[in-house]
Symmetry: C2
Subunit: 261 residues, 2 copies
């Protein structure tokens, strides 16, 4: 990443490169303030617009974030830890240290924007829940907020034929929530499938999650199955990728040495 005089890239790119390199080698750490437009103008002898463009490259890459009136800072990655599987005696493994530091798990999240409605299932949901075409579902939407910052959008789809008239069709599902109610109805979820992908957010998602530029969303789709293998819920979650580390702890079965990669 050495810059030479005959480097043909635009000046703002070269300034962005040198700042990025300074962050990578640790000259600026997480949360540190980066040189401002005035600093860059002086140091590199460039116009304000060029300095501004250089900083916006780093913001678009998600490496830096602007704070109103305070400047541009190296983004600190201090996310929540979400454990997909919560039953293993993982404390017996290693020293408990993880590759990415994260806030204590299970921090209480505020839930807002709860809505419950009856809707005809879209195709992708019908396929997973094994519903007839246009069969009705109970759809529960809500948003999870941590310290005023929205971090997760969730939309659960349940077959209406299973849950109509139960507390699941109410805003407040009662103690233990949806899964406790499903258990009472004879459909206790005991098998889970979580599918994960990542992409850039839509404008609407970025707004609802109050996301910074240059940050992707993680999509987690969890399907819950009864002991008989009947799918009873599909929960489509959209997570601000800057707010989460997902963790899955599991034991290998016999022949474990075949785990891939």
């Amino acid at each position: 990443m050495a810059t030479t005089d005959d480097d043909r890239r635009p000046k703002y790119q070269r300034i962005a490169d040198s700042l990025r390199e300074a962050i990578q080698v640790g000259r600026y750490g997480p949360g540190d303030r980066l040189p401002g437009e005035n600093d860059l103008m002086t140091t590199h002898g460039v116009a304000r617009m060029t300095a501004r463009q250089a900083l916006s490259v780093l913001r678009d890459e998600g490496i830096a974030e602007a704070r109103k009136g305070a400047g541009v800072f190296v983004r600190a990655f201090r996310p929540l830890r979400r454990r997909g599987i919560d039953r293993l005696a993982r404390d017996r493994w290693g020293n408990g240290r993880s590759i990415w530091s994260a806030e204590i798990e299970n921090r209480a999240l505020e839930v807002d924007r709860i809505s419950v409605s009856e809707e005809a299932a879209p195709d992708r949901i019908s396929a997973v829940l094994d519903l007839a075409v246009e069969e009705m579902t109970c759809v529960r939407r809500r948003r999870f907020v941590l310290d005023g910052k929205p971090v997760l959008l969730a939309t659960s789809h349940l077959p209406l034929s299973l849950v109509a008239g139960s507390a699941i069709a109410q805003e407040d599902t009662g103690p233990g929530g949806t899964y406790a109610r499903l258990a009472e109805l004879g459909y206790e979820p005991v098998h889970f499938r979580e599918e994960i992908r990542s992409r850039m957010p839509s404008k609407d998602e970025a707004e609802r999650l109050a996301m910074s530029a240059g940050t992707p969303v993680i999509l987690v789709c969890r399907t819950a199955f009864t002991d008989e293998g009947r799918p009873v819920e599909v929960n489509e979650m959209t997570l601000d990728a800057a707010s989460y580390v997902l963790e899955y702890d599991f034991d290998a079965g016999p022949g474990s040495a075949r785990v891939k990669d």
Copy 2:
């Protein structure tokens, strides 16, 4: 997303919005060719630069991709499926249909750019592997390629004191690979922790994975533990998010109704 005459956003943004909406309602499906610059110039009465900017908005969002000489197309999301946990009788659950379609799992990936070296462990690795400061590790780097497209970069770190002199320190680890060799050495990995996050790629990652603009990477960090809980390998993987769906299937233990969200 209705556009009105007093809409103050730049014209290219409004054109991008209308194309995005057309994609969202399915007027253009995955793999379809979008109107080209000439079409947009005629339809919207704009200059070529404006039409070009509109299309580049969709490319930056990862919704569309340019193919050289052929135009701009709606991106098809047809990734590989990577199963983190490969031991459950998941075929008993539901009808096997998934929320996101994906290529058959376990497709043979080509491995290239293999390198093996001895390196002092960086702090994050020392912490997880419980090593002394600057203790040496065996580092195995490689890249996985599907049909000529690189999809995954992997770097495994193992304590050198455990693996020195074994086939793990060779390019070719032999049948069964690293885990089989670890088992022979008395360190069979039986517990696994996978941590997942997502961010935009660095320039270097984007190049090595030949990624399109507007696509994040998924980072998977897998730690392997012996039966006694000793960490024996940390594998840092960087995945092109457009190429993968991750899947985790698991059973709930007693008290399963407490699964979160």
